[in-house]
């Protein structure tokens, strides 16, 4: 059952490539693998915690004020992440993530999971959902940022791959983010369509 859930989070309902949610951080901080994974972990932490709380309070919160209530819950956890990052992460990572850490508050993935899943399910199932969707998000971030780092800086996770490779600077500039995500999206769609045709 866990494996099935994991497959749902990473492949069938991948938050970035299938649902197309939370695109701002995906594009903005995917310059290097390290930053991308750090962003993925920060968002996953907020997602799991907010799923737990939203699921716990789902019976007491009236429908009319549920969005502001979720916003406050999510914002509190984002503040926690901010403080944790400031205290324990290398300053270079915190600087690279910059305003995109507070912007996790308006990340559609977290909102969508709170609204569509955690507000209708018990705590245990909400935790599982947070974990698998979070892993899906981390995978997507890792994939996008490694493509950009390999092509744009000729390294992966800071390790230089080849001394003769001339990096394509465009890939670490903002347009490169659009090109990478657009290309990967098209690739996954192509694979999906091929599979459907064969079946």
């Amino acid at each position: 059952m866990l494996l099935k859930e994991l497959k749902r989070g990473v492949f069938d309902e991948n938050p970035v490539f299938v649902m197309m949610l939370g695109l701002c951080p995906t594009l903005a901080v995917s310059v290097s693998l390290r930053d991308g994974v750090a962003m993925g972990c920060a968002a996953t932490f907020v997602l799991i915690c907010s799923n737990v709380i939203v699921s716990l309070i789902r019976r007491f919160v009236p429908g009319g004020v549920r969005i502001p209530a979720y916003i406050v819950v999510i914002a509190s956890f984002v503040t926690m992440v901010e403080l944790i990052f400031k205290a324990y992460m290398p300053p270079a990572v915190t600087a690279a993530l910059g305003i995109y850490i507070p912007l996790i508050v308006v990340n559609c993935i977290i909102f969508y999971r709170a609204e569509a899943f955690a507000s209708k399910n018990n705590v245990f199932r909400s935790i599982i959902d947070g974990v698998v969707v979070g892993i899906g998000f981390i995978c997507a971030m890792a994939l996008i940022s490694s493509v950009r780092e390999i092509l744009g800086s000729g390294s992966i996770g800071g390790l230089i791959l080849s001394s003769t490779y001339k990096p394509m600077t465009i890939m670490i500039l903002p347009p490169g983010a659009f090109l990478t995500v657009g290309g990967l999206l098209a690739l996954f769609r192509y694979i999906g369509q091929r599979r459907k045709e064969r079946a």
């Binding site: 197309m20 695109l23 701002c24 594009l27 903005a28 969005i67 502001p68 916003i71 406050v72 914002a75 509190s76 984002v78 503040t79 901010e82 403080l83 400031k86 910059g98 305003i99 507070p102 912007l103 508050v105 308006v106 559609c108 909102f111 465009i170 500039l173 903002p174 347009p175 490169g176 983010a177 659009f178 090109l179 995500v181 657009g182 290309g183 999206l185 098209a186 690739l187 769609r189 192509y190 369509q193």
Partner: protein
Amino acid sequence: MIMDWSTYFSIAIGVIFINNFVVFRFLGLCPVIGVAKRLDVAFGYGMAATFVMTMASVVIQLLYVYVLQPNAALLQAIAPSIAEKGLLDILRTTSYILVIAVLVQLVEMFLRKVIPSLYQALGIYLPIITTNCAVLGAVLLNTTNATRDLTFPQAVAQGFFAGIGFTLAMLLMAGIRERLELAKIPKPLQDVPITFFAAAFMGLAFQGFAGM
């Protein structure tokens, strides 16, 4: 007092062209992908967002200067013991997003009563602007994450021009997508992927302003 117009001009050029919110900072991408399919809709949404961004810049700049900042005047009067450290670390994100949510709600009610014609034009887009990262991004870049210290009118100007830049990107994108509907696009590229490629080339064009 003589207004220093050149500062405002450089702020305007900076946030509209050089550091455009959509193509450079990736803020407010969801509506660009989701809403910007027709020019009139994109214009309506862009105007609503600009309006909220300007209002939010005004309110949050006041909040930042008088309440949240270390040694802020109001905080010193109410709770001198915590005034020295300020409340930015713990309350910034929460207070900003709540102010934006309340503001959007108020703006909506105000427009409905006072300027019904504008409400008719912007109304449907207003509620969803709360969760638009462009608004939160704009106020963050005005206050704690500003590249330089901004005075009150400068911060408001930056918020307003950021909205204009956002609208510009929305309009360009909508224009491109209206044309794309008539084009023959390979199936895996249809709709979103091709929009990303279009955005990439738009970003390249905007990159040309970076030398200014």
